[in-house]
Symmetry: C2
Subunit: 199 residues, 2 copies
Amino acid sequence: MSEPYERLVQSLKALPGLGYRSAEKIALHLLVEKPERAKELIERISIAKETLGACRICGNLTDQEICEICASEERESERLCVVESVTDLFAMEKAGVFHGKYHILMGKLSPVKGVGPDQLNISNLSERITEGKIEEVILALSNDMEGEATCHYLKNEVFLSENLKVTRIGFGLPSGGGVTYADQNTLENALQSRKILDT
Amino acid sequence: MSEPYERLVQSLKALPGLGYRSAEKIALHLLVEKPERAKELIERISIAKETLGACRICGNLTDQEICEICASEERESERLCVVESVTDLFAMEKAGVFHGKYHILMGKLSPVKGVGPDQLNISNLSERITEGKIEEVILALSNDMEGEATCHYLKNEVFLSENLKVTRIGFGLPSGGGVTYADQNTLENALQSRKILDT
């Protein structure tokens, strides 16, 4: 097919979660099947781009320079929860179980996908730590190899202050999950993080 | 979240194959994680929209008024293959097994999803049929309830000429597929379309 078509498909394919097939489907949808939607989509991306962006401090989505959470005086400034993405922050907020502040890495280290420290929102994180108000950093990263590597990197290269407590969220059976349906790694994690029962 | 964000997510969600979660992921990708990609994406949609569109005759993607296949004098004008989408046409062309012309319906009838005949590229199809050059219409629609309903509708409401041969592509085991892994409907279809073996 023609170059403008291929270039559009490549741009769509670069979006998270889209492969070549789904990118092609969307391109044809916008060009042939529902061409009226292309204009609307362009408009909405433009308007959202103009009004919204990343919080200068934590990377959260905001229509201000600094997001509501960072600006809030009611949130605990001593506790910082490091997450991979804004959707992870949304999930934490929806659960309503954390009352400190956040930092969004915008990904995790992945040598395979070519994601190194420079591609992540880390330099900003160092600055926040060295300011000295933060007592505990809670790493709420994925329970996988990349999440593991990212935690190690942050612990050994970024969180150098001796007074800083660095923790990682717990692993084990998810709520409602039974042993029968858990995979080997989950069971291993669950055994390792076992606790003494109160009597 | 703010209105521009929700409106963008809704527009993305309206694209084929995207649910709320994936639309949200893409919106945050464009606004927070890789904001430089939003501009590129807008440009590429705009350029593709300017240079490409649907063929006036069949609905195929083209940078002309009439696509290469419709304009070709080497393709058999007597045989018309009706497909659901441009990607279906691409698949047929890649297989290289059909040498006639195409007509793209841009969907299939689906009362559940609110897709009626008016939402499909059908009026154009009637015109092509009444021009009288076409001897056979091959319905290459999905092997599902909606594909079935669309075939019936076309046969009974659109293809009214008595001289017109209307066929539907065959169903059965896919190439490389074994009986063990085929579902009930596929086996039923395969049995119904059994053929006498030449000796």
